[in-house]
């Protein structure tokens, strides 16, 4: 009897507990944590200093009106752009001493950005630390200490994976191995991209081995790109972009962009058109394409600057692709170099939209000519909107414009903190 009574009580208790549990589930379901976002703005406070000191400031909403980046912000070096990935803010120069490598920043206490980690690269050449991220645990970078190899790293730990080194010496030596005029060789120094399981890395054949080696000193008039299978780490082939030079100057801005359909558009800055010499003042500059499901450069398509401007002193310096349209700045005056040159800090760069099918260019209205975005992205997409970086030489316009069709409207200006370099949206916990 007692056993039956006991069983009855136990069944009743279990039933109550079940009911209580069911009731609790109904009233207090495990909620999806509310997502919070922050907008980070980067400025460079001294454009004449190549170490690019500057600030990063965090905003709760997309900025508007006139803003300052100097109060309650983070000050450091290497504030000339960044290369974000997902929720990570990544830079190719460390904030403490402008060392080359990969630095990851985070939003810390009080909404102040702070350095989270740093992966050091050799400092003996520009481009050292040029990187691309395939996924949260796989990334690749070029280190000047091993110029004919590509290094592998784990973006989550931001540490080099010592077993992942890809030796491309054989690929590099497929041409010009005995050519005395080639003073310096590297692979991945200026261009690293990941698409559909393949790693694309430019091969540099340079005519100089001094302080600027690898930049604007191409030996060949064509640009060579090695294709590597990421899963196996094996080199597969080399494809090339013909009749140009100076692929994708790096410095945070990789100068390539994936269209909505997966096509990859790559900037080549070219070189002297008439004498087929290397150089930074344009000529033969073009945007090339590797289609979404291809691994070869699309030989049938390119957007040529020489078709847009006939002076032979013009070039592409940035590209942003979306829905079959390319946003590109085009210089309105022939480029000049040297200390008094117009290439970097003169308002000669005008935003245009190019249709990838017709190659027709349409000038974007409502936006002034600007200075060269340099290492910064000229265009970014945030919250489904495209924003164009506007920084005039005198700083009277120094912020982002929102692109609508072929017109742009002003959103915010930085009046304290220096030249605008970037804006990005980060999800925070």
């Amino acid at each position: 009897m007692n056993r039956h009574i006991l069983k009855g009580w136990m069944l009743a208790a279990a039933g109550l507990a079940l009911l209580a549990g069911c009731d609790k589930d109904k009233k207090d379901p495990d909620p999806e944590p509310e997502k919070k976002y922050k907008y980070v703005v980067q400025t460079s406070s001294n454009l004449s200093n190549a170490q690019r000191p500057g600030n990063i400031k965090v905003f709760d909403t997309f900025p508007s009106g006139n803003i300052s980046t100097i109060d309650q912000s983070f000050q450091g070096m290497g504030m000339a752009g960044w290369r974000p990935y997902g929720n990570w803010l990544l830079k190719m120069f460390d904030s403490e001493a402008y060392e080359q490598g990969i630095e990851r920043l985070k939003i810390g206490t009080g909404d102040i950005v702070e350095v989270e980690s740093f992966l050091k690269a050799d400092a003996s050449a520009f481009g050292s630390g040029n990187f691309v991220i395939a996924d949260e645990t796989t990334g690749f970078y070029w280190d000047a200490a091993t110029p004919l190899k590509i290094q592998k790293f784990n973006p989550t730990t931001l540490s080099r994976v010592s077993s992942g080194e890809i030796d491309l010496t054989a690929a590099v030596n497929e041409r010009g191995a005995d050519e005395a005029g080639i003073k310096y060789r590297s692979v991945g120094q200026k261009f690293l991209a990941v698409k559909k399981g393949k790693l694309f890395a430019n091969i540099t054949y340079a005519k100089t081995d001094g302080s600027q080696k690898g930049f604007w000193d191409d030996f060949y008039p064509d640009v060579y790109i090695a294709v590597i299978d990421i899963a196996t780490g094996k080199y597969e082939k080399t494809t090339k972009i013909e009749g140009t030079g100076s692929i994708a100057y790096i410095n945070d801005n990789p100068m390539y962009s994936f269209d909505t359909n997966g096509d990859l558009y790559i900037v080549c800055q070219g070189g002297d058109r008439d004498n087929l010499q290397a150089g930074a003042l344009g000529g033969r500059s073009k945007i090339a394409r590797i289609k979404a499901n291809e691994t070869d450069v699309d030989a049938a398509w390119s957007l040529n600057m020489d078709d847009i401007r006939s002076d032979g002193k013009s070039k592409f310096v940035s590209v942003f692709a979306k829905d079959g349209k390319l946003v590109v700045p085009v210089n309105n005056t022939a480029l000049t170099g040297g200390p008094q040159g117009n290439i970097n800090l003169t308002d000669i760069w005008e935003f245009h939209i190019a249709d990838v099918n017709t190659k027709a260019l349409t000038k974007i209205t409502g936006i002034p000519a600007v200075t060269n975005p340099g290492g910064s992205y000229g265009s970014v997409e945030i919250d489904g909107k495209v924003y164009l970086r506007v920084s005039t030489a005198d700083g009277s316009m120094n912020g982002y414009y929102e692109l609508n069709g072929t017109a742009a409207t002003r959103t915010f200006d930085v009046t304290e903190g220096g030249s605008i370099q970037g804006i990005y949206k980060i999800e925070v916990e």
């Binding site: 403490e96 060392e99 980690s117 992966l119 081995d209 170099g337 200390p339 009277s396 304290e416």
Partner: protein, 809 residues
Amino acid sequence: MLLLRQFTGYFFLIVFSFFIPVTVSAQKTGVIRVVLKGERGEPLPQATVYLLNDSGDEARPVRLSDEDGKVDFAGLRDGSYVVLARHVGREEVKHQVMVGPASELLVELVLKNSAQQLSDLVVRGKSETREAMDQPIKAAIVNTREVGAQPVTLTELINRTAGVRIRQTGGLGSAPDVSVNGFQGRGIRYFKNGIPLDYLRDGYNISSVPVELLERVEVYKGVLPVGLGADALGGAVNLVTRTDVGSYLNLSYEVASFNTHRSSLSAVYTPEGRKWYAGADLFFNHSDNDYKAEVKVTDPETRNQYRARLRMFHNAFTSYYGDVFAGIRDTRWADELRLSLAGFSLTREQQHPALMTDPYGAITGGQSSVVPTLRYRKTFAGGRIAIDQFLVYNTVNIGRTDTLRGRYDWFGHVTYNPSQFGESRQPALSDVDFSNFTSRTNLSYKLNEAHKAELNYVITEAGRKGRDPYGPRFAGTDIDVLSVRTDYRKQVLGASLESRWLDGRLTNTLMGKHYYYASSGTDTWASRPIAESERITKKGNYWGIAEAIKFELNEHQFVRVSAEAANRLPQQDELFGDGIWVVPNFNLNPEKSTNLNAGYRWQRRKKASFEVNGFYRYTKGLILLIPIQPPYAQFTNMDNVKGYGVELDGAVHAGRFFIVNANVTYQDLRLFGITTPLDKWKNGSRLRNTPWFFTNVGVTGNFDKVFGEQDNLKIYFHYNFLKEYYLETIARRQEPGGFLGLFGSAKVNSDLLIPTQHLLNAGVSYSFRSGRATAGVEVKNLLDQDVFDYYRIQRAGRSIHLKMGISIK
């Protein structure tokens, strides 16, 4: 507009200076005319003459006797005075006189030869130093004689001076940069006995010269005497070598931490009764500079970094300098003709690039030269006209080697890698000759007892030519850019009128200077192709004017005011670079500055002294060394700066044995005139990367006859405080708060600052037999603090130094 106001100010100052004597000279009373002679009746020029009052204080500033052995003290009130005369190699003489109303006394003193000359030498040195301190043009005088027994460096001594801050990038031999009144870099010029020091490069500078070879160091703040023929903007450092006569031999040797060895020899032989002399100055410096510093070590596998305190392993410096000379004195056709043949050689290991980021283990640099010089001095017309001529022609060879195929880590381990060449971004095996010709002519004419005119002309011609098999080439050719000669010519002509009124109580100096320079060369570094046709020529003519007044309120106090409108031409190094890390900039323009200085000094001999000085400056186009593409830097016209500074300096004799001295410097130099919207926010912000508040406190115990009749023991402590300053510009509202912004830290989240620092040195020195033998021991950085002069370039921690010296007459 402000410049106009400044010039208006000059005008009134000058007018004022000419009218004052008329109104005040009516107060004249008694006169003492002193005539000094030797035992044979010969006049004694250059003797030091004191006029002391009843209390033993100086009634008048110390004077030197003229060519006839004469000194006059006028304008004396009634009372009793003591005339005290000293001369090298002679016994001191004292003579008491009583001055009555309108009396004129003639005091003839005979100074006998002395068996003991050393103490007289010391006294004479002090008096010349004191003379320099009392000039109307403000100069901080560093008395190197007094510390000859101490293992102290010249940079440390100068750093203890109010308003002056020396910064170095490492240990012994690292390039020094003097900051005076906020001016720094090439705005400060260096001289040796009044001659611009460019021709000796790093072979002879304030970080390498032993203090015992110098009489004193003069640090001019603002206005420069016309005799320093240079275009310095904010000040100058003049190294004055010992001028002892007779025959002597001085030896010193210092051994210290970090395998530091420093030695010097100074010898002169003057035969008795002859007019010729010969001698030599030699010194040697070596330090491994292998002190510990906090660096960021890179893990070879993960390439992540961690901080570690490691010993420098490729940071040594070695230098040799020798100067043998001979000359004649006191002949009919020359007061002095001196021929000198100097030579130096130095090697410097380079441990890291501009910041302590990457370890280098094989990069070296070196300099060497043979330097013949000639100096001729003569006075005419009874001493009224004087000429001082200096000539030098030499070539300094500078080389840099960076050819390692591999990499070092911070532990000193090397990993060879044939695909790498050079540790820096620019491999090098450079061999560059910098030729130099300098002529300095100084003429002075004594118009009368009250006025002296001076003319100074310095011409410098310099060139550079060299080779580097791994250096840049002209576009499309194999022509080494260093093989194309670059040239630089500079001429500085200065004229001054020095006037003394009120029996020497009021001194006025009015100066004008004309500057000319021309340079041509090619831009050997640029992010673009280089062509030989791109040769650049720059030249310019500029004028400057300066005025300085000093007025003695009484025997204990004086005030002085000076003003100048100056230009500072781009220097050779700034235009051409150094062939290593500083790249050329041929687009530099001169800096222009208007500077005002005012000061007051009060002193009681052997009791206390107090001095306050202030300055105001208005500078446009300041030339700063700016990092460009790493690891290179370039001089650039950057900022407009204006502001003021105040420095207080005092010393108190505490009892019989102790002297406490202290100074504090505050500078408020700020950017102005920025009109571009992008940078307007920087108006009013502090000049970046410039120390603005620092203090020094020193305590010295001085004990005579401790163990013997002629010995002396000194115990000393020196403390230096430096307030944090900022590598990059921060807005004014972000600066620390409190009185003058001295409290707390800046309201920025940044590592880009040079932190607040405390440096304490302590030592003991002992001299035997009136200084014929000396020994000293000193502990530098006693608290073993991390010390920085520049952002992320750490200097040495605690170190122990032992120094010994011998002096033979």
